[in-house]
């Protein structure tokens, strides 16, 4: 009798184990199927379980961690590609317009007997348009280079107070020429951040150039902690769309006669991001404020 009960219990135990085994086997088989499915398609999908068996779960978690990493690399590559494509699509109008105008003036030069003064004027305009195109092209190349990560940044400890002063003295003449009243608030003590000094200088140059072109009357530059603020007054401030400011080729007016391609800000934003910093724009108290925050050594 005892023997039978023992045998019965054993059989039940065996059956339970067998069922468990089958379920886990099933789970693993489906995992395999799912994995081979998602391996070849562009998907966010992660693996899931049906049993929550501990070993299976831990296997899934490892694989999912790997999928997550792959995904991240993929997005990084894709972002570069789409940004570039977008830049090229957007630039086509900007390339075509000055080119068409230059061609028009050339036609007039060829067609008619013009007095020397008018000839000189037209050649001057053509030269201006070609210069525009040149700036546009080199900006585009620079943007492409930066976004593809072909520039290697040399991140080091930098006294950004000095970099900021340098950039300001470089821009000084132009700011004065445009009649800006400038307030500068930079501490005398060194402010050390982690960044590439050349890249930071480029960022500041681009921002200040933007101020010269679009700002007016008053500029305020302030350095507090690891934050640089460049605030200026501007005409038509309500027309400026802060949210689109850093997008490729955003310009508040559509005039292509000035030399601003709208790429300067995009380059500044990208360079700052590559230094693990942050560049944002906001409108406060009738001022357009650009804010750079750079990482400090911990």
């Amino acid at each position: 009798m005892m023997w039978w009960i023992a045998c019965g219990l054993l059989a039940i135990g065996f059956a339970i184990l067998l069922i468990r085994l089958m379920r886990i086997k099933n789970d693993i088989r489906q995992l395999g199927e799912h994995l081979s499915e998602i391996a070849y398609i562009d998907t966010n999908a992660r693996l899931v379980t049906r049993t929550f068996d501990r070993s299976v779960s831990s296997l899934i978690q490892s694989i999912n961690a790997m999928l997550k990493k792959n995904r991240r690399d993929h997005f990084e590559a894709q972002r570069t590609e789409t940004e570039l494509k977008r830049a090229i699509t957007n630039i086509s109008h900007d390339l075509r317009t000055p080119l068409t105008a230059a061609r028009g003036y050339l036609q007039m030069l060829e067609a008619s007997d013009l007095d020397p003064a008018t000839r000189a004027q037209y050649t001057g305009i053509i030269r201006g348009r070609l210069d525009n195109l040149g700036v546009l092209m080199s900006d585009l190349f620079e943007f492409a280079r930066i976004i593809e990560g072909n520039t290697t940044l040399d991140i080091q400890q930098v006294n950004i107070a000095n970099t900021l002063r340098d950039a300001l003295s470089e821009a000084h003449r132009e700011l004065e020429y445009k009649g800006f009243r400038v307030d500068i608030d930079i501490p005398d003590t060194p402010v050390v951040c982690q960044c590439d000094p050349d890249a930071l200088r480029r960022v500041l140059q681009n921002l200040l150039k933007n101020v010269c072109i679009h700002g007016k009357a008053y500029l305020c530059v302030r350095l507090t902690g690891n934050q640089i603020e460049i605030a200026n007054q501007a005409d038509d401030l309500d027309k400026i769309d802060v949210a689109h400011m850093f997008e490729r080729f955003y310009t508040s007016d559509t005039s292509r006669s000035n030399k601003n391609t709208g790429l300067g800000l995009a380059i500044a934003k990208e360079l700052t991001a590559q230094m693990d910093g942050k560049l944002t724009a906001s409108k406060e108290d009738n001022m357009l404020t650009m804010r750079i925050v750079l990482p400090q050594k911990i």
Binding site: I41, D42, N44, A45, L47, V48, T97, G104, A243
Partner: protein, 303 residues
């Protein structure tokens, strides 16, 4: 890659056509805005995509799948929030998500906190779903929808009933999700609400698709300008610059220039161009405000 393509999708309720021959295509990475008034057929369209309702006729292709069995598999890659999310009234945000985590076999326990973080509901603590505000309910619905890492997200009026800050937050959230590789179909009855997020738009009115356009096209449509079609753009450009002193213009295609000034005097522009020997095929003022544009679109079709 095409995520969703519908061909002549049609559905009627009680003799009334809710969705009328809608054919559209959503590419991977799109944030596709479906714009229409209440009752235009947006929700019905979305319900058919998620199999909550069956189309009378027409075809749905989701991730390349068209057969019922494959469509079911493809739908597992889709998340959706349509109408009010059906969640447990007496559970907290975390408990609701934990339920769905187990139900879907997601092994990562921290995923619940992760999505709560994404939709910014981490600090709701012991508050039960039934006591949530509409905005919080919407966000929790969204959290459930993204729990399983979908590739395609369908959101019905995600900004409905939100205050202005809520709308801005929702927009940011949508953009962030898009950057993480989620293709999106979003409906709204207000064009301007989606104007800053979507990259493609379809305007639906009385069940019919009246217009699809890209972000750039919408932008160009809504920028007031003189659209001038001429035979010789190069010559026209010099006339604009020298005679009329216009620098604010753009060449948009082979034969078309857009001038952003002189909007009140197209006759003068036309006259000067003709005087200089440029043949003007057409000249007209184009561009409306977003809302005007939308009203014109839906007003311009017979109901």
């Amino acid at each position: 890659m095409t995520v969703l393509q519908t061909k002549n999708l049609t559905k009627s309720y009680g003799g009334k056509v809710a969705v009328d021959n809608v054919s559209l295509k959503i590419e991977q990475g799109d944030i596709f805005g479906l714009i229409g008034q209440n009752g235009a057929g947006k929700t019905t369209f979305m319900r058919m995509i998620t199999s909550m309702s069956r189309p009378d006729s027409g075809q749905i292709e989701l991730f390349g799948a068209t057969t019922p069995a494959k469509l079911t598999a493809a739908r597992t890659r889709t998340g959706s929030v349509i109408e009010t999310p059906a969640l447990f009234q007496n559970l907290t945000a975390e408990q609701n998500l934990e339920y769905y985590r187990l139900q879907r076999g997601i092994t990562e326990k921290n995923r619940v906190q992760e999505v709560l973080g994404i939709v910014q509901l981490t600090d709701t603590g012991k508050k039960k779903f039934k006591n949530f505000s509409l905005g919080m309910k919407q966000r929790l619905g969204l959290a459930v929808a993204i729990l399983g890492h979908p590739d395609f997200l369908i959101l019905d009026e995600p900004t409905n009933g939100l205050d202005p800050t809520g709308i801005v937050e929702m927009r940011d959230l949508i953009k962030r999700l898009s950057q993480e590789g989620i293709t999106m179909l979003i409906s709204s009855h207000i064009l301007t609400e989606l104007a800053q997020v979507a990259n493609k738009y379809a305007i639906i009115h009385h069940g019919r698709l009246i217009k699809t356009l890209t972000e750039a096209e919408l932008h160009e449509e809504c920028k007031r300008a003189l659209a001038i079609t001429v035979d010789d753009t190069a010559k026209a450009a010099t006339v604009l610059e020298t005679t009329l002193n216009i620098t604010n213009y753009k060449q948009v295609s082979q034969n078309e220039l857009r001038v952003y000034t002189y909007l009140d005097d197209p006759a003068e522009v036309s006259f000067q161009l003709s005087q200089a020997g440029v043949r003007v095929a057409s000249i007209q003022v184009v561009g409306d405000s977003l809302e005007d544009y939308y009203t014109k679109m839906i007003g311009g079709t017979k109901s």
